[in-house]
Symmetry: C2
């Protein structure tokens, strides 16, 4: 209910997702009458949907702390509680990110061993699979060296289960690749992540720069939520600008308009590849349960992509696998502490 | 001498810039014999060039603090000293950014009233002029609320003299546009910059997000050098990826290859608009003298663009105008302090 585009776009996205993912069922949370009317307009959707009546809406400008205290009875709260109760396997929301994370932490609780949960996104890249992973892209504006190490472990798990990479390559985002560059916590995290690579079964490639995010020398990019959010929105803004300019270029001359027709299929494929709506869906990592955050301004295509991602993660039992990985890493670190040294022999 | 592409690319860029800017003269700094040989290969360049012999080179991995102590005798030091001595109006370098800023601060000194100098870059945008300005994109990884206010004043001056905007619109980069979002220093800077808008003769549009950097609702984007550097390199990386994918799309089918020929002129114009090389040149703001930092990996086209920007700034007496603006803002703030209130009546 709290997205920028309103419930009509969400229901349209549900209809699209239901067609593309024949195995899924949906629980919609919001004013029952309004939702039932919207669902009835989409052929075959009513049979796949259950509606949970609730009146409250978390608005985009609501403070997370306020929603944590007074959010019971909102559609957001109800959707997260469906995961908590085991009725839903994944929660998908287009609402206020800060509030969604706050209520998720309150109701689902952080995984044992995790200090700050993170939001991971998929990023179009030159790698064979077509995507890299970046986290955190906006769960928390801060991250210290220990948080960044946990992000590396969680990112490894997401890359393995979401992208099928057995031994993902992890990079730490910085303003240069030289070891002396960047903030103090990045230098410490550089050492911590490097030392954890063997036991965590990932490759650590060291510092990477903004230009490396879509590159094929790394699979997972680790950063704090402030920087990650700016980078993500900057890249989306750049891709959108280029798409606009491209459209204008193909309308500029009669020759160009003919060219656009001839290259239609190729350009359409390219357009899909760089369309931010097709990679819509940030995954909250580090909670007892999976939450997928769709863009606030997502349209039906974007919402359908987020639901598709949720379905994929539910099928791979991602939540359980991530929890197991974090738990084993915590045990490994306890072993390290007892031995008084980081040796990487524990696994 | 210290760029990634070596002196041959720099001399090729000088030759291109000399052709495009008939009024300029060049002073090249480096090993005289090597440079003379490279210059002699370019027709008509020798008459426009003076060579200053120096053997030392600041490498890309040199620590700024080391270069400040031991950098005398390097080509970088020599080039900056030519500005200090008034022999050159602008210094252009493709070298190590941190070292260039450190030596510039040491030899040119900060402007009275400026705490942290900044690097400003031009950013392709939807505005009529085609560009927005962003600063800081990498002079310093930190910026507190007072630094961000100074960046707003310096960015205003650059927008006025560089882009011809009488009343530029200033935005502060954050992870959301709501006033309660972001880091503590950003909330304070939001108030400070808003209060300075009237006296500083700019419009303050408040917080902007990564997606707004190329937008037409703002002319100048203010941020710290860590975030700005990541955003800049992320946008360049995204534009480069899209260009690659576009090239592949036009080679994919015979129809697409014909289309590429038909749309050649339009696509070439688009390619120029989003080519990072064409907007090459970060300007150091806040020093007694102008320094233009070109990309380390700039080729002849990029180096020529940086020299062209330097020529434009020299012709507009930018250094003197910026100094006058910062001085009058400092006086205004002193008046404020004496009156015990920020009223904006001082100008």
């Amino acid at each position: 209910m709290g997205g920028d585009t309103g419930p009509a776009a969400v229901v349209a996205g549900c209809a699209q997702a239901a067609q593309e993912n024949p195995g899924i069922g949906l629980i919609l949370h919001g004013p029952a009458e309004e939702l039932a009317r919207l669902v009835a307009k989409r052929k075959g959707l009513a049979e796949r949907c259950e509606i949970r009546d609730c009146d409250g809406v978390v608005t985009m400008d609501a403070k997370p702390s306020y929603v944590m205290r007074h959010g019971k009875g909102t559609s957001m709260w109800s959707a997260i509680d469906a995961v908590r109760a085991g009725e839903a396997q994944v929660c998908v929301s287009c609402g206020n990110t800060g509030a969604l994370m706050a209520v998720s932490m309150l109701r689902l609780r952080k995984l044992e061993g995790i200090n700050r949960p993170a939001i991971a996104c998929l990023w179009p890249s030159r790698n064979p699979g077509g995507f890299n992973i970046m986290l955190d892209v906006g769960a928390d504006i801060r991250a210290d060296e220990d948080d960044l190490l946990q992000y590396a472990l969680m990112g490894t798990s997401y890359a393995r289960n979401g992208l099928g990479l057995v031994h993902p390559r992890i990079g730490l985002l910085n303003v240069g690749t030289e070891e002396h560059k960047g903030r103090a916590e990045l230098k410490v995290a550089n050492d911590l992540i490097g030392a954890a690579a063997h036991a965590g079964e990932f490759d650590y490639v060291g510092f990477v720069e903004g230009g490396d995010i879509p590159s094929d020398r790394v699979d997972v990019i680790i950063t704090d939520g402030f920087t990650g959010n700016i980078a993500l929105k900057t890249a989306e803004g750049t891709a959108t600008l280029v798409r606009e300019l491209l459209r204008k270029a193909f309308a500029a001359t009669p020759f160009a308009r003919i060219a656009a027709l001839l290259a239609y299929t190729s350009l359409r494929r390219l357009g899909k590849r760089i369309d931010p709506r097709r990679v819509n869906g940030g995954v909250f990592l580090g909670l007892n349960g999976t939450v997928v955050k769709s863009h606030g301004s997502a349209d039906a295509t974007g919402i359908s992509a987020a639901i598709g991602l949720a379905s994929k993660l539910a099928q791979s039992n991602f939540s359980e696998r991530l929890a197991a990985r974090v738990a084993s890493a915590s045990l490994a670190r306890q072993d390290d502490a007892q031995q008084g040294a980081v040796s990487g022999k524990q696994e």
